[in-house]
Structure formats: C-alpha cells, structure tokens
C-alpha cells in the first residue's frame, strides 16, 4: 500500500471532482494543483473533458505536468475562447488575491483603484467567467489576507452581486473554493462562505482561524475525500512524476 495521500494530492483530487458529470466542456485550470485535477478527471471519470495548453490549442493527450502536449484536437485562439465563455461550455478554476464571504474575487489591485498600493494581475476575464459559466477558485495558501470582509475591487462577481442582477445572472455558478486546508463553497446563509469539507488531519478551528471573514461551519463537517489507489498512482506516476505539486502545497 502506498503512503497516505498528501494535502497536495487531496486538493488536486478535489479539483478533479469539480468536473464530475460535466461532459465535453473546456476545463481551464490556473496553477499546478488545479491542472493535476483536470488531468486526473480526464484520465478517470470524465474522458470527454477538453484541455488546452493555455494558449491557442486544444489537445487530446494528457501529458505529465511540465511536459508539452502533443496531439492537437482543436484551435482555440483568444477570440474563440471568448465565444466559448459566452456559450457557457467551460469551467474555470481561478486564483484570487482576495475573496470575500460572498465569493467576490479581486485580481485587480490592493488599495484604492485610482492609486493602488499594489498592482495585481488585472481584471483578466474574471467578470466574463463568473457571469457566464461555472467558476471555482484555488487558493494554495489559506490565510486571513485572502479571505477578507471586503475586497478592494470586484473582478469576479460573488453571490450578492449576482443576486442583485436578478435573471441577468442566471448562469452565475460559483462551485467551490479549494485550498490547502479545506473545500469551501457559498452554501452558507444568504449565499455566504461555508465549510464543505476539511482535508484529513486539519482541524475545523484551524480553517476558521485562517479565514479572515465570517465562515459558516455546519454542525458536521466531513473530511475531503482522499484519492483512491488508482488515482494516487495516476497522480504520482503519470500526471506529476516530477512532484511539482509539492511546491504549490508543501506538506506541513
């Protein structure tokens, strides 16, 4: 029997589970752990999943992280990606510099918008994503400065902004926020941040402490599922033999 799954492997598996039953949609993972998850999903429960190299091409093969794709199966330049986003046939796992309790995301800048203290990545397509198709977030380091009461700029919209839009936001769908400690979602009162599962070995109190805004904790919090033996072998030998995952989420 192989060694128990690491936090990185559990988080990657949780990312993969986001694509359960999704069929032939484009998976757009940002970062190593989400990319492992998307590849794991395609090699197990969702072989129809589409993957791109992050540039303009869709690929049919599923190479290890850090190795190039080789088998082209489609063209997806940015303008076609915008059309695909509008059609809804995509699930993105984005990062976030800040997230508030309604799931509003800030990728733009910290501080006042006109003269911020720190420039971040920029708005990118977060607003288009969150209004058009399923969106999840991956946070490699669960800490109070990420989960804040109020984000400085809203790039990806959360549940309160979506509710205010009414039927115009009918495709808004924040599925999960996967971190190194837990899986969160927006199932709390009024569409607020809630603890869905904690990773094995993590105390609920530690998640609450690492969350800088209010977090709904249900009476019973299950553990995040660990990858099964087949999934573990795929992650360790097929998808990430070079162990890039440990750089993104090191073992505590």
């Amino acid at each position: 029997m192989s060694a128990a799954a690491t936090r990185a492997e559990i988080a990657a598996t949780a990312c993969g589970d986001l694509f359960l039953g999704a069929g032939a949609i484009l998976a757009s993972p940002t970062g190593i752990i989400p990319s492992i998850g998307a590849r794991l999903a395609r090699l197990t429960h969702n072989p129809a999943l589409l993957l791109s190299d992050g540039a303009a091409t869709l690929y049919a093969d599923t190479p290890p992280i850090g190795h190039p794709f080789e088998v082209r199966e489609g063209s997806l330049p940015y303008r076609a990606l915008f059309e695909l986003i509008a059609s809804g046939r995509r699930h993105v796992i984005m990062g976030a510099a800040q997230l508030d309790r309604h799931g509003n995301q800030n990728l733009s800048a910290i501080g006042p918008h006109d003269r911020p203290t720190r420039q971040l990545l920029g708005a990118r397509a977060a607003a288009a994503n969150t209004i058009n198709h399923p969106t999840s977030y991956f946070v490699a380091r669960h800490q109070p400065r990420v989960f804040v009461d109020r984000v400085d700029t809203v790039t990806g919209i959360g549940s309160d902004r979506a509710r205010a839009l009414g039927p115009a936001a009918r495709f808004h769908d924040i599925r999960a926020i996967i971190t190194d400690l837990a899986v969160l979602d927006l199932s709390g009162p009024g569409g607020t941040l809630a603890l869905r599962t904690v990773h094995p070995g993590v105390e609920v109190a530690a998640v609450v402490e690492a969350t800088g805004c209010a977090l709904h904790v249900p009476a019973v919090t299950p553990e995040t599922r660990a990858p099964d033996a087949h999934e573990l072998t795929l992650i360790r030998e097929r998808i990430d033999p070079d162990r890039h995952r440990e750089r993104e989420i090191p073992e505590p």
Partner: protein
C-alpha cells in the same frame, strides 16, 4: 503598382499629442515594439493606450507619454505583472480604465462595426462598471434581460505586427493566435503594421489563406523594420528573449535606470539591452 510601405523614420510624424492608440498582440506576445519606439521618438504626450497589455504599455508608462490606459491586464507572461505599469499606476501617474478582456474585445468590435456599443453579458456586476467608467447597462429589447452596453472604443491609430506582409498591405500571421489584431485595425482611423519580412504577394499564398488575417482595406501603412517585436514572443518564428525581458523589467525600479533603458531602447534595435 500599389505600395503603402512607409519608412521607419517617418512613423513619428504620424503620432500627435492626445491620440488614442491601440496596440495589437497580447501580453508579451507579438508586440510591435519597433512602432512603440517610434511613438517614444515622436515625443507625443497625453496618449490614451488601448491594449491587451504587455511591455508596449509599460514602455509608454516609463516614457511618461501615456496618460490613460484602457486594459484588462498588463503582463509580461513569464513575469506576471509589468513593473513599469505597476509603478506608474501605484504612483498615480496614469489613469486606468480596467475592463474585462471580453469587454475590451466588444468595445473594439463595436467601433470596427461603426456601432455605438455592443451588447454583452461580460462585466455585469463587476467593478468594471463602477461609477466613473461611463459604461451603462441596457435591457434586452426581446427578453428584458440586463446586458452591458459596451461602448465602442474608436482609435486614432492602431499599431500591429505581422510576420510577413507585401507592399500592398496584405499581412500574414503564421502563429496559432491572431489575437484581436483585426479588431484593432477595424476600430482605427489609421493602421500601421510593422513586419521584418516584406515578400511578394505570391509568396504569402504559400500558407493557408486563413493566415492572411487582416484585409488590406484596414491597413494604411506597412513599415519594414528589423526586429519588429523586440524581446516579445512571436510564435512560431521566435520565442521570447527572456534575458532581454528581465533587463527591461529590472529597469523599472529607479528613475535613472528607467531613463537609461529608454535611451538605449530608442537608440538601438527594439528590445536591445540598454547601452
């Protein structure tokens, strides 16, 4: 014989104070840095720069010519945030209109189609529609659904790079992503395209016609210049010069290094080391 080629030294005469200039490419990919060098040489001030931003935006922030940036990001790809842009924005030296990428595309498309706006769902509920952005929503006339009425982004000038071009203004992109260059061209009153390689029209046809991605109806000038894209990536012809990009980024920290870098950039080939 039609010939719309323009000498590099004449490009600065087309740049005037207060222009709105759109720049093609994406991030640190296929950026017409030789044409950006011409903008710097012109000395034109109070420019509005519209871009899926990379070092084009950073350079015009460093030169102090950009007053307003219309963008969704300014990245160097392998370096996530352009430090010249970040410094200028954090110092309050430039105004920004920060849009969702799809909104920026919609604004250019509206201008290209000579419409006042394009309806899109992108941006609804986000701070791209914050007070002061001037962007409004409208009800769909058929369903009543709220939509963003993304205003047209007309350009005085578009600066683009093509992998190959002919004298007539047919331009070719051999890479997998033509980005939104044709929308920049369509949105602009005047479009200038740089290329390293001027070829006969017959030669352009060797690759698939879909690589001839911009019709010459929207190309006004072709500028043949060596090293048009500087250190930025230009697949499949060349990869990014990461060392040269690092030198560019490292120059952002101090006034003196920034000035020295710009002087070297203007004097030398686009993307050359400061000298």
């Amino acid at each position: 014989m039609i010939d719309i080629t323009l000498a590099e030294r004449d490009v600065p005469t087309l740049i005037r104070d207060g222009m709105t200039i759109g720049i093609g490419g994406w991030g640190s990919r296929r950026k017409p840095l030789a044409l950006v060098r011409a903008v710097i040489s012109s000395g034109a001030k109070n420019l509005t720069i519209v871009s899926f931003g990379g070092p084009d935006v950073g350079l015009l922030c460093a030169s102090g010519q950009a007053r307003r940036i219309v963008h969704g990001f300014v990245t160097l790809d392998s370096i996530p945030i352009d430090p010249h842009f970040a410094r200028a924005r954090q110092a309050g030296e430039v105004e920004t209109l920060e849009l969702d990428e799809a909104m920026l595309g919609a604004g250019l498309r509206a201008a290209s189609r000579r419409l006042g706006f394009e309806a899109t769902r992108a941006g609804l509920g986000s701070d791209a529609l914050r007070e002061g952005s001037g962007i409004r929503t409208i009800p769909c006339p058929y369903t009543g659904e709220t939509l963003v009425a993304m205003p047209a982004i007309p350009l005085d000038l578009a600066l683009l790079h093509a992998d190959r071009a002919d004298r007539r203004g047919n331009v070719q992109c051999l890479g997998e992503d033509p980005h939104l260059d044709d929308l920049f061209a369509g949105a602009a009153a005047t479009t200038i395209v740089s290329t390293d390689l001027l070829v006969e029209t017959e030669e352009l046809g060797a690759a698939h016609p879909s690589t001839l991605h911009i019709p010459r109806t929207v190309v006004d000038h072709v500028v043949v210049v060596e090293d048009s894209v500087g250190f930025t990536a230009n697949p499949p012809l060349r990869s990014r010069d990461e060392n040269a990009q690092r030198s560019y980024a490292a120059a952002a920290d101090h006034d003196e290094t920034r000035r020295a870098y710009l002087a070297g950039f203007v004097a030398g080939a686009a993307g050359a080391e400061p000298r």
